[in-house]
């Protein structure tokens, strides 16, 4: 098993029961205090750097816009900071929201720069961006899929084709694609696709032999989606390797299960409610979901963002793992054997959690959970040191 510390760099100062209808798109940026922001970036970066010191395999950054939920509108800037401050860990960008850029060639360039600067340590995640980002960018949500696919094809070709080429797609029309520099890793950095589990995405990731990453979901969804991924891989003629399955979730550890629940309550509820809050029309703008996925969402309406989830709900449904290291590693071992993932992306600093608590959580996870789970889910290639 590989362990990558996931971080959202959440803005932790949204008042409880804020009167704003959402913490996205229209939540006024006057609520962002740049002086506090200076401290916050430094604190969060130090947490990620510390992860390398205590043995994590990687650190993760991601992209969100116009929100207190995450303060990394440009994940590539954070990745550059981490490339300079770390030596060994993989730097996973999960991901660049590729449809939001007007020229995806720019992403091919930036990621190649990062791969060279980090000596080949970049994992390149690609996402569509979530619903509110289509409001934030005034970008037609009905085109998010076709822009995603076209941008993906363009970036992969930009990294792999030896000669300059023309690209005339529906969305992007480029006379010369010829990005300098090229990435260090051959043929290109590993591609990881974070998703909430849409049927179309699962199939597409399996088809391309990429790594599928399930983010913040109930344990029932995680199980279903990982099984669907394995079936999809079989449909495409191969067996999914554990390295192709990743699971991202908040984890909190303490001396007793009860103490862990008490201490995690506020940070979790803040993360899943106060800063994830938005109306359904913002979470799912028209055409963002295919009719197939829409039917699935309608069938399972209660969920993140649009209705309030208590810490107890989150723990009970397995959106998060909270307890003593023994409890947590026991569950992870059980789940790993159940659905066979090879990458775990714990979020150990989240919501309103202060730095001391976050650092202790990171240390505990590294010392009391990671060593027990390491041997699980290693594919043959990983054992041979290929991946």
């Amino acid at each position: 098993m590989k362990f990558l510390l996931q971080h959202l760099m959440t803005w932790p100062y949204v008042p409880e029961n804020s009167s704003y209808p959402q913490a996205w798109v229209t939540y006024p940026h006057s609520n962002y205090d740049p002086k506090l922001g200076e401290e916050l970036y430094e604190t969060y970066l130090n947490q990620l750097v510390h992860a390398e010191e205590v043995g994590f395999d990687g650190v993760c950054v991601n992209e969100h816009h116009q929100t207190a939920y995450g303060t990394m509108p440009s994940p590539n800037i954070m990745a550059a900071m981490l490339a300079a401050r770390t030596k060994r860990v993989k730097i996973a960008i999960l991901g660049n929201a590729i449809p939001l850029r007007n020229n995806p060639q720019r992403i091919a360039e930036e990621l190649a720069m990062l791969d060279v600067l980090s000596h080949g340590r970049i994992i390149s995640g690609f996402v569509r961006g979530i619903g509110p980002e289509y409001h934030s960018f005034s970008l037609d949500p009905t085109q998010s899929r076709s822009r995603f696919h076209e941008a993906h094809d363009l970036i992969i070709r930009a990294w792999t084709e030896p000669e300059p080429f023309e690209f005339y797609g529906k969305h992007y029309k480029l006379r010369y694609v010829n990005p300098w520099p090229r990435p260090v890793q051959e043929p290109h950095p590993p591609i990881w696709i974070p998703s909430q589990g849409s049927v179309e995405t699962i199939d597409w990731v399996a088809e391309h032999h990429y790594t599928y990453l399930q983010t913040y979901s109930s344990i029932g969804s995680v199980r279903r989606v990982f099984n669907e991924f394995k079936e999809a891989a079989e449909r495409h003629g191969y067996q999914a390797s554990p390295n192709q399955l990743g699971w991202a979730l908040p984890i909190y550890l303490a001396d007793t299960d009860e103490k862990a629940r008490q201490e995690a309550k506020r940070p979790l509820e803040y993360l899943f409610n106060d800063v994830f809050k938005m109306p359904p029309s913002v979470f799912f703008p028209p055409g963002y979901l295919t009719p197939q996925s829409m039917a699935r969402v309608l069938a399972n309406k209660k969920g993140m963002g649009t209705s309030r989830l208590t810490a107890e709900d989150l723990i009970e449904k397995g959106y998060v793992l909270v307890g003593t290291p023994e409890t947590v590693r026991g569950k992870l071992e059980e789940y790993q054997q159940d659905f066979g993932f090879g990458n775990l992306l714990p979020m150990l600093s989240f919501g309103t959690m202060n730095n001391a608590a976050a650092m202790e959580n990171i240390d505990r996870f590294a010392a009391e959970v990671m060593p027990y789970l390491r041997p699980l889910g290693e594919s043959k290639e990983q054992e041979q040191g290929v991946l």
């Binding site: 009905t142 029309s281 703008p285 028209p286 055409g287």
Partner: protein, 261 residues
């Protein structure tokens, strides 16, 4: 009395509601979708041959993947008129359908005899704050359309809430609206430099309390169109053809039959 048929336009099937005899009128529905033979259509069909197609991407009409803009949709409707062998037509466009009527009339003014636009999209008026329809929930969406609360209540009562088929149909309609009107928000910046081509008489009918496109929009259309006259409908919201159908029918009938504005 009306009939329902499917018209195939260069490979795209469109559902067409049609009734009456006489000079041809075509009604372009708005963002909420078509497919309903509304009372004002029935009343107008006493004097005219009234066509009410469902736009591609809406209701039971096919998708039209190549339509990326309102101008593309106007080109489609030129093919539609050719298909039906209609040379010249009176046009009524409501809201999003008003924008379509304007695009059609800039492309082919010789195909439009007279035109009524009501609560029309299509332009941006600087300094007038519009509510973002794409941020509203279902109920807020209904509430903003009507001035008379009883229309909202009747629509709510009639809506088959929770019926998956209806929800998916509405979702498809909304996706089609988003595709046409997300950015720029419900307008084509080029339209202002093309409206000089709209030389036929235009009647601009506006609800006094339109909260989707406020009255300033109606006034602006009257100002920039070469031959337009604004008629205000009192105690009315965004959809005069529905909320004040008798008054709307009287205005449009007088206009199409006698040229009275």
């Amino acid at each position: 009395m009306h009939t329902v048929e499917t018209v195939n336009v260069r490979g795209t099937n469109v559902r067409l509601l049609q009734g009456g005899e006489g000079p041809v009128l075509i009604y372009f529905h708005g963002a909420a979708g078509g497919g309903e033979w509304l009372p004002f259509l029935e009343q107008l069909s006493a004097h005219y041959r009234v066509l009410a197609p469902e736009h591609p991407g809406f209701g039971e009409s096919d998708d039209l993947p190549d339509v990326d803009s309102m101008q593309d949709l106007a080109f489609f409707y030129l093919d539609f008129l050719d298909q039906l062998g209609i040379e010249k037509v009176g046009v009524i466009g409501s809201s999003l359908g008003g924008w379509l009527a304007l695009e059609l009339a800039t492309l082919a003014p010789h195909r439009v005899s007279r035109m009524v636009i009501t609560g029309s999209a299509g332009i941006r008026v600087e300094g007038v704050q519009l509510t973002d329809l794409f941020m509203l929930d279902d109920r807020e969406h209904l509430e903003i359309l009507f001035h008379d609360e009883s229309f909202v209540q009747n629509r709510l009562a009639a809506a088959s809430i929770g019926d998956t088929e209806t929800v998916l149909l509405q979702a498809r309609n909304r996706a089609s609206v988003a595709h046409l009107a997300w950015n720029p928000y419900f307008h084509n910046p080029k339209l202002r430099q093309r409206v000089h081509r709209i030389t036929m008489p235009v009647l601009v009918v506006w609800g006094e309390h339109d909260r989707v496109f406020p009255l300033r929009y109606g006034e602006e259309f009257e100002r920039i169109l070469p031959d337009a006259k604004l008629r205000l409908v009192r105690d009315c919201g965004h959809l005069p053809a529905q909320e004040k159908s008798a008054e709307f029918v009287a205005l449009t009938h007088n206009f199409f039959s006698k040229g009275v504005r």
